[in-house]
């Protein structure tokens, strides 16, 4: 049995995910941000699917367990491609899309290979172990990639407000996840940790929905004037 707060968080997560998809289409940005549309649509379907399976089979069922982690792996792979899409946008003027595609594929294959090396010794349910480990490893690859992306945004003096906000939201999301995970290991008895990950899961789509709704594609940050007002 879950409490009403858990159901409320669940409902809010699904609403925010659907809201992002609606906002992207309503602002006619779907072509430019296709990976975000796929990712949010995947998250929304995973959330709904989890609820249906939870209601039908229960919290401790194998069906819920398998659906939860397999859907998570797919969603995290989509999130990885969102990051690669943002990289492509930041570096689009440098004409390095070919290198970026190869690097993204190499990184995904490398992560899968490392994950297989970790789980190869496990007896039974090798695929499930692999799927769970892969999604966790991709989380940490995402953390590193987001910091790299933010470094590129700062170095290249990127001024597209929408792009900067999308990258920053991802940075906050990945960093907060990693920090929460580390702190949960250090202080497992602290009750706040139980609500932090689901709230983070709401914060990312909420931040993205706000960005698509309130920040137009043509908006630019005036960093040059702020940095050097006398020039």
């Amino acid at each position: 049995m879950l409490g009403s707060a858990d159901y409320a968080i669940w409902l809010l997560a699904a609403s925010c995910e659907a809201c992002v998809v609606v906002c992207v289409f309503s602002t006619r940005s779907a072509r430019r941000y296709l990976p975000i549309v796929f990712h949010m649509l995947g998250e929304f379907l995973a959330t709904i699917g989890r609820f249906v399976i939870f209601r039908r089979y229960g919290y401790t069922s194998h069906e819920y367990f398998y659906f939860y982690y397999y859907s998570d792996a797919l969603v995290v792979i989509c999130l990885y491609f969102v990051l690669i899409g943002l990289f492509a946008q930041v570096f689009e003027e440098m004409k390095v899309s070919q290198y970026l595609r190869v690097a993204a594929l190499l990184l995904l294959c490398g992560t899968a290979w490392i994950t297989y090396s970790i789980v190869a010794d496990s007896r039974g349910r090798l695929l499930t172990h692999f799927v769970v480990e892969l999604s966790q490893n991709l989380y940490f690859v995402g953390v590193v990639l987001t910091y790299l992306l933010w470094g590129a945004v700062v170095k290249l003096q990127e001024t597209r407000t929408r792009l900067v906000q999308l990258v920053l939201s991802l940075g906050v999301y990945f960093s907060a996840f990693a920090v929460t995970y580390a702190l949960r290991n250090l202080y497992p008895g602290f009750s706040l940790w139980q609500y932090t990950p689901p709230l983070l899961g709401i914060a990312l789509p909420a931040a993205w929905a706000y960005t698509f709704l309130k920040v137009p594609e043509g908006a630019r940050l005036a960093t040059a004037q702020v940095a050097a007002p006398g020039r």
Binding site: E43, R50, F140
Partner: protein
Amino acid sequence: MSRWLSVVVLVMLVLAAAMGLRGIVTSHSQVPVMEAAAGGPVPPSPWRAAGGPVPPSPWRAAGGPVPPSPWAK
């Protein structure tokens, strides 16, 4: 050629950094798996260690007191 080598080096650096970060973050891990991106409560892990008490679920229902642990003296 040097550009392609740079790509390979960058990929390996990112992989090493990510796995190193994971090692640091989970070095004292008692939590079996990370929570997923989409909504829904985390299912109980089937990879519990053979011995020892099962940790209480962070998603336990609001009502009712937690039963005493059978492993406590």
